[in-house]
Symmetry: C2
Subunit: 308 residues, 2 copies
């Protein structure tokens, strides 16, 4: 009996899965964040080891014939991280080396078994990625909260506060976002209070306000509805910059909390992908399973080596 292992590791948590070559899931594992850029290579590898040992359990490690690790920050961490992953594979006694891929390649595989297509991620940040032969070949945006991430959770949350401030000082129309944002951030809905609350925490904390925009839009708030439509337009504009029609793509995968939450934004993006680019959109499922799917499809190979 042969097995493969797939891992998805991000900034806050790591998930691993052991899968039979027939596709059946035999074990799962969880651990903390394992982004080597954010946490250091030693800590990242330690978390990967915890998740992998849990997933493999009592199955003989030498029966693992392919292992794909999707690690945020992994592909840019260079030789020292690749060496540490090699040592980890030996320490675990795996029957193969581990292949390091990007978290976006894993997310795409979590939505489709196809090798080519477009991946839209909108969580705290936002990026659009072109995937070819299972690999990320190009991306648009992903420029972070200060410079871009148009249509992301941060972007939505910031727009919510801006709409509240605009409603207070007369620049914008009245909106229920004022009461909702104030309810999250402050006791009294004043400009000074909102500003103090927003500047008093890390900028990315604004991403937590994103669900308020969806909620207000569903409740009929026109200002929130405009923000949602603008977010969809910005995400679709990033897709457009990849020119998926000329590239011959037919599939898109949606990932990230903002796009995976059911609601008007996911609907607008899905409809826009079909209407503007002829792309059929599917949500990303379990990302550790996505990594395992890459392992099953033969993407696995020697660490740092050329993937098939």
């Amino acid at each position: 009996m042969r097995h493969v292992v797939g891992v998805d590791a991000g900034g806050s948590h790591t998930r691993a899965v052991l899968v039979q070559t027939s596709g059946e899931v035999l074990g799962t594992g969880r651990a903390g964040g394992a982004n080597p850029v954010a946490h250091g290579i030693g800590n990242a590898v330690a978390q990967l080891e915890i998740a992998l040992r849990q997933a493999i359990g009592t199955v003989p490690a030498e029966s693992v014939s392919a292992c794909v690790l999707g690690v945020a920050g992994g592909p840019t961490s260079g030789e020292p991280f690749l060496r540490a992953l090699g040592e980890l594979a030996r320490r675990l006694g795996l029957g193969c080396a581990c292949t390091l891929v990007s978290d976006s390649e894993v997310a795409f595989a979590a939505g489709t078994s196809a090798a080519d297509g477009v991946l839209l991620i909108a969580g705290t940040g936002a990026v659009v990625v072109e995937i070819r032969a299972h690999r990320k070949i190009r991306h648009v945006d992903g420029d972070g909260w200060l410079l871009g991430d148009a249509g992301s959770g941060f972007w939505l949350g910031r727009q919510a506060v801006r709409a509240a401030l605009a409603a207070l000082d007369g620049r914008g129309a009245p909106t229920r976002l004022l009461a909702e944002v104030a309810g999250e951030l402050v006791a009294a809905p004043t400009s000074e209070g909102l500003r103090a609350a927003a500047y008093g925490r890390p900028p990315l904390a604004l991403a937590r306000l994103a669900p308020l925009v969806t909620g207000a839009a569903l409740a009929g708030d026109e200002v929130a509805d405009r923000i949602i439509r603008r977010a969809a337009d910005l995400l679709l504009a990033s897709v457009g910059a990849l020119d998926p029609v000329t590239a011959g793509h037919t599939r898109a995968v949606l990932a990230g909390g903002v796009l995976l939450a059911p609601g008007p934004l996911a609907e607008l993006v899905t409809a826009g992908l079909a209407d503007r680019f002829g792309l059929t959109a599917r949500p990303a499922g379990d990302t550790a399973l996505g990594a395992a799917r890459l392992a099953l499809s033969g993407v696995g190979g020697p660490v740092g080596g050329t993937r098939e």
Copy 2:
């Protein structure tokens, strides 16, 4: 012979001027930043004292019959700051108390002797203020770099980097801003390099890139031209939120480095103020003289008391 004193104090420097009631300038003084919120009340008062002593020089301090201090962060610093200013006036032997006003009231007075009108400030940040009887009665925006300051130097600088990134990944049109921004920030004009440089310094440092946008627009760059036009529209929208026509205003004062720099943005804003709102715009001159003008016009009065 009687005299008045005017002071403009900001985050980075403080300027004072001693003026005869005839209007003649008899002395000037300079010191470091005196924003009590940013530097603490003790440090702020120490810098104010340095600038005031220089400006008063050998003129008998008891002949100073009015003193107006425009201090950024002053009006929100409350009783402790007002008490410290009272002690300062006694220590200097002034023949009057000092009146604390906002830096925007001083900036408006630096552009006109009128008592009513609209003030547009666009420097690192941006805010539009309605002035009535020399006092700030309302403002729009001024929400800071994270939430607003639309049309400010920060806003322009950030748009410059975004335009460069968009030119690199295909979202945006080619623009000379790519070479110019890269020339300021990095050795090689790559997305990764630009992002690393922008995130590697404080967000407000992006304001230093604002002149690149003006320069590129003047050189015929269409992307830069659109950014400048958008900045002007945003500043004019903030003015519109104050509804100056209904309020009967006829005067506007432009302040801040972005609006005081000659070029297309100041021209578009000046033309827009006239066309849309019937406002005649003038640039703010010497802000310490603006404070002295307020002192001469009788705005001075007891610290913390009601101004005439």
